[in-house]
Symmetry: C2
Subunit: 127 residues, 2 copies
DNA sequence: ATTTTACCCTCCAGTTACTGGAGAGGTTAT
DNA sequence: ATAACCTCTCCAGTAACTGGAGGGTAAAAT
């Protein structure tokens, strides 16, 4: 499989697949005579795995760890759960921050009359 | 005021103040004989304003706009409210995405027994 | 007066995870 | 043969800083 085909099948941009090869995340199994990257089905599985993990906001480094657990059949569910739980905590923390931010800003926006007068509680609060 | 003093007073790292000067966000009023950046009280107000706006997740470009509205006494509350509302919408959108992410991941983490067996629903789902 | 300490400068590189483009070469179809 | 399409490498840019090297300046302590 050349890069265009695996990109389509994994639903990732070609540039991204090339990038993953560059950083050693998913390495092509070889090169053609012309120097084209060649991929096998294992690589395809890994790329799809990574796309899914990324869609869960796992960082590339976390994906690397997850991928190692994914391909290592000796890994225990505990290892995976630990990684995912830590990630979940980070997401929850972000959620709280965002909630706080939202409430404060919503309060200010509500307080602003929003007409042509220059007087504005949002600016007043920030300044 | 030299950069160290205004950094302390605005509660921003020196590096950041220098960076804001570089990108023309808050320019020093002048330079000393030795080439030190010199700031006045107006700059201090602006830096504090920006720090607060940044803490609300406004981007640097949005800060630039807000700052223009802040220093322009002709601006109307409508202009400010418009900017803040758009930002609020983005925050809400992010919140929804994060909520979705959280729910899915939490579901997976709950489903994972997390013991020494290699069988793991998280990996199963991703792979 | 000198030394130490603290401060300031510029420039370069790195962070995250790609993305866009230039310029060149390979492959396929008509 | 030529056009259309694919692939390659390398460079630069994104956002908003942060860290460090190497070197000059100012203020305080001795």
């Amino acid at each position: 499989m050349k890069i265009g085909e695996i990109a389509k099948k994994s639903d990732l941009p070609i540039k991204t697949v090339r990038y993953y090869a560059d950083i050693g995340l998913v390495t092509p199994s070889g090169r053609s005579d012309a120097g084209y990257r060649l991929y096998d089905l294992e690589a395809l599985k890994q790329l799809i795995f990574i796309r899914r993990a990324r869609s869960f906001d796992f960082s590339i480094d976390q994906c690397r760890e997850l991928l190692a657990l994914y391909t290592n059949h000796q890994r225990s569910a505990a290892d995976v759960k630990k990684l995912a739980s830590a990630h979940l905590e980070m997401i929850q923390k972000k959620q709280l921050e965002l909630q706080h931010l939202h409430d404060e800003l919503a309060h200010l926006v509500n307080a602003c009359h929003g007409d042509e007068r220059p007087n504005c509680p949002i600016i007043d609060f920030l300044g």
